[in-house]
Every structure is written in structure tokens, then in C-alpha cells.
Amino acid sequence: MLGYIIRRIIVMIPVLFALTIFTFFLVRLVPGNPASVMLGPRATPEAIASIEESLGLDKPLLVQYGYFMRDLLQGDLGDSIRKKQPVTTVIGDRIGPTLFLVFYSMILAVLITVPMATVAALNKERWPDQIVRIFTLGALAMPAYWVGMMLLQLLAVKYKIFPVAGYGDGFFGHLYYLFLPAISLALAIAALTIRSLRSSILETLGSDYVRTARAKGLSGRSVFSWHVMRNSSLSSITLLGLIFVFVIGGTTIMETIFSIPGIGQLIVRGIFDRDYPVIQGVTLVIGVIVLLTSLVVDILYAALDPRVKLS
């Protein structure tokens, strides 16, 4: 197990290396440069040259990449051109809200998914199943940002139950402030996971080992929780792993709508400002998160399914 994890982490290194090459050269291929954005319409060739020199942007690209990698290996992502702070500090300040929002919405999604999928599966083709189906179709049809804006209008602006924007203080403050964005994302996630979980529950209910378990006299309840749920959750876990990556992207929009100081806002701003170190840093961090997530999913998979051996 430990050997497996270490091997997986070693395999990540070339992937991340490829990612640095990709983002480093891609952001520099895009028209526009940080110096002209900083100077705006007042830019003169001399002023641009002087800023580029001070940022080291006048050197050949390969040399710049060399400097970037040298610093990166020492854990230094460079300084933000716009904020004039180390990128590690900037990301450190802002990754908390993003991760909080991602996990919050995932947990809410699970809390919505499990009961609804169970009820739907146990009442297949009867009215509870139909209600769940209408709910998932509705949630699928409404984009998360639209749901977010509607909830904001209704619950924050009109009835003032929730705050309009921000991140709040302390754990419970975060829970309160991030509820609307988290529930908006959670509904979008649940729309996918409910259907998946429902069909795998149905599949499991029809399998031989469930019939055997019932035949040997186990109660319906313990068959359901021990055999059915555990086996059915496997496919949903894989799906959640994939969705996690999607949600990290989805938070960018939520962070904008709800003014949450996360890394999504940071990278959008960074792209507009051509703040190369910020773009590189955030991309790299997201890359690491995505790779770690797939590792965690594989480990969970093995923990839930004894047939899977990590080797």
C-alpha cells in the first residue's frame, strides 16, 4: 500500500513537469504582456522595456524557464507582478476559501444524494422515484451559476436570510457565508450522482449475493446497509473523484458571483493582468490537487472493495 502510494507520487513528477512547460509557454504565447497592462494606454516603448527588464521578461524564454524551474525546485513560485508578493503567499491566503467551498459542496451533495437515490431505488417506478427524477432533471437543466444568482436574489437580497457575499469568520462563519454557493454547486453535483447511485443500487439489489444474504436470513436493513450500499457506492466514488475536479473549476464562477476570495478569482484576475507567476502557480497547485484526488479515489476504492489490490 505504502509502496503503491510512493510509486504513484513519483509518477506525478513527470506529469507536473509537463504541466509547468505547458503553462509557462502557453501564457507567454497569448498576446499582451504584463508591462503593457501595468502601464495601460500610457505605455511608451522605453517604459515597457524598463519594466520588462526589471521583471526579467527581456531574457530568452528558455532562460526564463530555467530560472522558473530553479526557483520552483526550491519551493519558490516567484513574485506576483501585480501584487508584488510571493505567489506562494498569495495562493496560501486564498486556497482556504476555495477548498472549503469545494468540500462543503461535495458534502452537501452527498447528503442530498444518498437519501434521494435510496428512496428512488427502493420505490422504483413509483411516485417517490418520479419525484426524484423530476428533481434531478430540474437540477440538471439549471446551470449552477443561475441557481446561485436566483438563490442570492431571493434569500440574500430579498429576505436577507443569508449574506450577499464574502467568506465569514471562523468555521461556522464560513459555513454560513458559503452556504448559498455551496448548495448551488451541490445541486449541480447531486443531479449527476443521484442517477448514478440509484442505478447502481438497483443493479446491486438484483445481484446473486444480495439474494443469498436475504436467503440466509439477514434482515432487509442489514442487507441494505452492509451489502447493497457498500457495493453501490463504488461507482459513485469514482464519479465524485471526477466531479471534484469539475467543482474546482465551478468554484471560479461561484467565487465571482459571491465575491469569495479564492484561487478561482485569483487566476481569472491573473490572466487579465498577464500576471505570469500567478497563472503558473495556481495552475500548478490545481494540477497537484487533481493528481492527489485521483490517488485518494484509488485508495478509497481499494478500502471499499477488497477485490481491488493496490500494486
Partner: protein, 551 residues
Amino acid sequence: MAFDAPIKTRVQLKDSELAARQWDEWRATRRQLMKLGAMGGAGIAALNLLPATGGSTRALAQDAEPKMGGTVSMSMADSDATSFDPPVPVDNMSIWTMLLFYDQLVRVNADGTAIEPGLAESWSGNEDATEYTFNLRDATFHDGSPVTASDVAFSILRAKNQEGGAWNFILSAIDTIEAPDDKTAVIKLSKPWAPLEADLAMFSASIIPQSLVEEQGDDFFQHPIGSGAFKFVSWEKDQEIVLEKNPDWWDTGKPYLDGVTFKVLPDSNARMLQFQGAELDIATSVPFNQLQSLQSNPDVKVVLDPVARIDYITLNTLVAPLDDVRVRQAINYAVDKQAIIDNVLFGYGEIANTFLPKMVGHDDSLPPYPYDVEKAKELLVGTAAENGFELELITQAGDAVDTQVCQLVAAALAEIGGNITISQVDGATLLDAVFSPDPNFEMAKVYYTTDILDPDELATFGVVSDGGALAIGSSYKNETVDQMVLDSQSVLDPEERQSMYNEIQRLVQEDAHFLYLFYPSGRTAVQAPIQDFHILPTGNYRLYEVWRDDV
């Protein structure tokens, strides 16, 4: 929006008479706008004389006595501030915020018509304008230490010599600054320089405490100390900037507010939602399409202020068929600007008639290009565009107003045979294409603003062929215009200068290197208790004159 980075130019007040005359007209427009703005039912604005500072006049919505206390939260609509090191930033958010906690030797008055005393209570210049003596008042920095003449010398020379600074040219005429005693600063110039006072009112010439800056270096500007109306409290990057009242400010009795919180809200939806949720007292840059519904809401007030901004499409005069002045004029005739103002700006703007925004030096009497499709078609006869033309129009992606404007322009030009492709690009790409030494575009929707009260810098920038920005990417060159702008710099008679500028504007309009669009009005929404909030024509705001009537 990155492209919102405005054009900053220096303040020049060579002729106060001209300024005063222009501003009389200007105030008339402002009153009309304020009537339109309904001012929360308060009715027609009246001109009141304020007792204090320099006998300045300004429009007040109500003549009640200001109350002390309370705080306000206000949006920063462009982006977060970038730096509070006076000579460094080029963005308005930093500049306007900085003006609230740093003082300068002198400042621009509330109307933007003249220079009034700041840290210097009086000053005098020698006859050939090469030496000025400033007498400092008894003022203290926020840490309690006195503002001395050596702080003045330190701050201004530091700004002048800032390495790679964008604003060094403003103070370039200054040679030395001497401090014969703590309260006297003598500025010696290397050449006669009439606009010195106006230059010293700029943010870059803010006075900072020498000992602290030398001791702390760059850290100082993370928690700056000035002598201004408000004290800097905290700056949470991309979140908010908090200022509190400076009770010991030299302008006794002000500010009225206990504090201000600036919230970084570049997204207009988020900004207006917070305003509607009453979590924001002052929302700047209100989207045009929300103004009418806000005006019918009794809980809020819409403040419409004239700001010196022109929106236009710059035409690259090096590209066929735009190299032909007849084609450029035809384009100006073919577009119905009033329709754009009515439909996109919901009426909150005026047709642009010259390259100058509505400011000192602007010629109101020059008629704009009328909407005349037949005339446009006539002009095209015999040009390369006679049998139709294809052009690309670039605009900033994500800006709903600009996108709609471009669509209307494209539709209008289709009437005269134009096949216009609209390309939406991001701000940095647009900047790179237009404001580069080697412009690479055909038509581009852009705008400029100014915080100067003299047309000289904007003319240098917008129409003079070697003025730095290649006449906003158009590569426009008219030697007569170049010479007239140069000549006007040394003309001190206001009448004569204005007539020169009228002629410049007429010539430039005829050459049509822009497709002139509109002058939009400044749009701020404030909650009902907020009193006396105004955006100055130069874009900044005197928050130390704002008060709440619910405290």
C-alpha cells in the same frame, strides 16, 4: 478590467479664467444631469457657497448641516489597488484611495476649477517662475510627528527620481528643494514652469514621512502613514481596504465620517447585489441598464456626475480603406450615435463632438457629425470603399456595453456597404494591438479619461503624431495640428488659447481619425442616508465631505 487603466495626465492650470468660464458651462450641464438624476426626490440641485476652503462653489443636494459620525462602505469597481507608494501606481483605484490618506502641498478644489491650499497654507513664486516658496501649516502625520519641510523635499525628490516611474515627467522641471527651516520649502526649477502648482497637487507628489520610509523601506507602503483626512487601517488584498477618520486633520471639522471601507467588487452583478442587500453604501460604475429601476427606488439615490471621458472607435489610418479621409468621414456620418445613447446607455450620455471629453478647453459649439446615410454614401463614391469594404472591429470581451455599441456600429456601417467583423478580445490583447509602437488592428472600441483640467496633455496624447501613443493607435498625423498644439502651450491669454483649441478640435474632427461616439455620465448609487457624495470630473471623490444623516 485591465483595460480600465485610465489615461493619467498631469494637471495644468495655466489660465484660471479660461477654466472658470468653461466650468460655468460645465456646471450648467451638471445641474441638468442632476435634475435627471432625481436625487432621491430631493429635487433640483442648488448652488451653495461653502464657507471653507478657497470660497469654492459646489452643488449640494440638500442644505442641511452635516452630521458627524458613522461609516460607509464603498465599492472599488475596477480592481484592487496595486500600490500606495505615491509615484508608483497607474491605476485609479490606488490613486483615488491614496488621495484620501496622503496630503499634497496644494490640492485641486471641490469643483476642479482651481488650486487651493493643502499642506502649504500659502506660497509665492518669483517673477520668472523658477523659484517657489511654500509655507507649511502646522500639520502632523498620523503617528503624531510633525510634517516638516525636509519631508516635503524628500517626498517630492523621491517621486521625481523614482526609477522606471511612469510619472517622473510631471516633476521633471524641479531642480532642488531646500528647507531653510521646518516650515518653509523652497523649490527651485531648472526652467520656467507655470503649471508647477497644479503638478504638486498630483498624487505622485504626496508628502510622506522621511524617517519612517527610510527606516521601513517597501514595508512602509503596506501600512502607509500620511497626514490626510483618513488614516490607513488595513488592506486585505482583493478584499477590502479600511480607513478611519483622522481627528487631527488640519482641515478642522472634517472628515465627518468615522471611517470608510472600500470593497473590491469588479463584477458589476456582485457589486449591485451587495448594494441591493444594503451591504454596500456607495456603488460606483452602476450598469446603465439598472439606473432606471434604481431611480424609482425611494431607499436609494442615483448620483449622475459628469466625468471627463470619451468613448470612441479609433481608426487605423494606415490601413486601406481607412487611409482615405472620405471613408473615415463617411463612417462618422453613417452611425446614429443618439440611437446608441438611447438604446445602450439608456439615455445617460451625450454625443461626442470632439476628441476632448467635456472639460476645460472642450468646444461645445462645434456640431458633431450628423447622422446622414446619404451623405456617407456620397462620400464613398470614388474611394476604395465604393463597392463595399471589409474591416475588423476589436473590442474588449465581457463588456456588455462595448459589445452592444459595436453591434450597432457594425449594423450601421452595413448600410453603406461595410462588412464589419467584431472580434472580442481580452483587455491585455486590446492594449497590445492598439497602444503599441506598431499598432496591429483596423478599428478598435476604446475610451480615455483624464484627471487634468487643461487640454494640453490629452491633445498631445490623442492627436499629436509623436505624442507617445501614436494618436491612440491611429497613426494620425496632421502637421498643422501638431504645430498648433505646441504653440498653444505658450499662449497665456485664455481667449486666444481657447480659440486655438477650437480650431484644433475642428481640424481633428474633419480628419476623422476616430469614429466619435459618446460622453457617458458618471453613475453612482448611494443609500438614502448618504449625503453630498460626488464624483469629481477627474474621477476621484472627496469622501471627507460626505456624511450620513442617520447617525
